[in-house]
Point group: C2
Chain length 405, copies 2
């Protein structure tokens, strides 16, 4: 039994933001039925690709990692028969999720207003760049993760000190919106349970990133400061950053004066503990440049491994700068099942990221492979919707459905 | 009516990860009762600070923005009377949230095993660095956001190309864990509703960031590539990055060959459309350095404002590089209520980040101010727990509770 195994989600999503949301719901047990166009979710064409199989087909690692645990139907929604299938599916669903540009679902005849005529208590979740309810000039603006990162201000506070702005190395614009969509959907389901009411959950990628800017907004609204990129440094704690070592980097989050004393002892610089320029956090922040250059001198005299041993011994907080290979091979990350194997048809076992939802009774899990395009056409139509085998064949002939591929 | 207004959360959280989680639940209507030590949540001492009030007290902008909509009790949990109050509160609660290091709650006598003796169907959510269920050497390791960013590999793929690793400019280690905690709690509540069972939700900051690494993990597991920082560039789409202009930057997410053609026309470089080195995305990625240096030449000839006009005209995706002041003043971000005012005692109206949960019937909202330390001691004890006024006074005398401050 899983937490959400009585929830059915009709998933009109593509690429990343909404697929990330429905992946989390599927990992928790929801039945997620992906509705793909006959050409498939665009991300089936995104690398990295697995080695070609015997037939020469290359499966997308991008698609595989985001779509485990889901079913795929490929329905031509430009046909009336296709629309009819979707209407029937919605009639039996709890949730609809989509991340087209605003207006696209309306053009297809499946806006929230239209869908609630089919199923009055539906939870309809949209994710787009600037919001469905937005100023007219924003409502249909194209948006990508990169746009959300830049528009929200997040890019302006990420990067080396004094250097160029940098993108966060993963698509947090999509991914934070995907998380917020899941929270919005689960809250709306709770509300429906009490009242019988459905509603529209209108999630914006820009809102999502603005909502996580943390103290950057307050620094501006309270102090008038416009925050800037700080490399790895913390705006008001020091030394709370990375330092180059003899062979790599080490991160030293020295969060208070007690740790500072221990840290100075551990690195053999006892004279800094009560130094008039560094003895408390306020002074260390005021004299940051001098502090950093003094510490850089010391930290580069040993390897990261040597520092780790010293820091472990002293009970100081620290981190190595792990690369992706370190992460995939890490003992504790593997103990937590954050890299999971799934049996992928034509490929055998492949590794995907695990579920971070460690619930003692109903943990999130990777159970089934990412589907081929249209893999569940027949199952969904005949078992959920009572189409006959003959009708399914007819729909294939009419190019409303296609053969799984 | 709000989505979660029948849910009571006992919030033993401090600083950021768990307070972010309970902020989202409170914005959606949950009754969140914060249990602070007599010295208060540490983040009450974190800047930026508002101007001192008449009594010379400085309120923390950091605390105010994360704790709106919550109640505060200050209870000395080192006393038996304090523990008794907490036990009574838990007996009437749906959810307990905490983000101490593993073992701290156990030392206090409030581990999950102990709490479920008080309330068998409690949802108990812990957030820590490496997980409660972790290898012994990880279970009690100190962790901060910075550690999670470095340990998870996210820092290793964020920063300028070839340059030093950078921290994401906001504390995504805490914040992603906070979101996942909320999803875990809401899923567990759904499960409880069906089965009557409570459970332990064990969220790790490192797991959270590993789960959002997106295609970085697949690039390593499939191709053996160890991804590196790329500045603002995308690993396999070009030109999908920022360019310096005459006065600032512009972001050009040119996601496909159709847009490439439009883009070349818009910047007056029609000759590049069918150029043998740049005519499709694969070629543009292969010849990225030459592409970028050619485009840099062009992009720096106009101001960002001039480019925006041209890009708008052509219907091309783009973004300016907004700073935090642009964001706070932005028309659409304000239209979406992402910067909200709240009346803060002794300060008057202050601005905090709004709720990204735009639900048509039960939107997330900022309704009440962040509480003073112990502001709701009397209310909670007399109204929820039936303590008499006299008993409350006695508890104050015995330093179990303190006066609000």
């Amino acid at each position: 039994m899983k937490a959400l195994d009585d929830i059915r989600v009709i998933d009109l999503s593509h690429v990343l933001a909404a697929p990330f949301c429905t992946m989390m719901l599927a990992d928790m047990g929801a039945e997620v039925i992906k509705i793909e166009p006959p050409s498939g979710d665009d991300s089936r064409e995104f690398g990295p690709f697995f080695e070609p199989d015997e037939k020469g087909d290359e499966q997308s690692g991008y698609f595989v990692s985001l779509n485990r645990n889901k079913k795929s139907t490929s329905i031509n929604l430009k046909t009336e028969e296709g629309k009819e299938i979707l209407r029937k599916l919605i009639a039996g669903a709890d949730v609809v999720v989509e991340n087209f540009r605003p207006n696209t679902m309306k053009k297809l005849g499946f806006s929230y207003e239209e869908i609630k005529e089919i199923k009055s208590d539906i939870i309809y979740c949209s994710i787009c760049g600037f919001g469905h309810d937005a100023l007219p000039e924003y409502a249909t603006k194209p948006a990508y993760d990169m746009v959300a990162q830049a528009y929200s201000g997040l890019m302006s506070i990420t990067g080396p000190k004094g250097g160029p702005p940098c993108r966060v190395g993963t698509s947090v614009g999509d991914i934070v919106a995907g998380h917020q969509a899941a929270i919005g959907i689960l809250s709306a389901l709770w509300h429906r349970e009490k009242t019988g009411e459905g509603q529209h959950v209108d999630i914006s990628m820009v809102d999502g990133l603005v909502s996580i800017l943390e103290n950057a907004i307050s620094r501006y609204t309270i102090k008038g400061e416009v925050p800037e990129p700080l490399g790895t440094a913390h705006p008001n704690i020091a030394p709370f950053q990375s330092f180059p070592t003899k062979d790599d980097y080490i991160i030293t989050p020295i969060g208070n004066d007690g740790l500072w004393e221990k840290f100075c002892e551990a690195i053999g610089k006892e004279e800094l503990v009560d130094h008039p320029k560094f003895k408390d956090n306020r002074l260390r922040c005021e004299n940051l440049d001098e502090l950093v250059s003094r510490l850089e001198e010391v930290m580069k005299t040993k390897t990261t491994e040597e520092w780790i041993e010293i820091f472990e011994e002293s009970g100081l907080p620290y981190s190595p700068l792990n690369r992706i290979d370190d992460v995939v091979d890490d003992d504790n990350i593997n103990y937590r099942n954050m890299i999971e194997e799934v049996e992928q048809p034509d490929l055998g076992k492949v590794e995907v990221t695990g579920s971070p939802f460690k619930l003692s009774k109903t943990p999130g899990e990777v159970e089934t492979h990412a589907p081929k395009l249209g893999e569940h056409n027949e199952e969904v139509l005949t078992e959920l919707l009572d189409y006959s085998q003959q009708e399914v064949e007819k729909l294939k002939e009419n190019e409303v459905l296609n053969e799984p591929k």
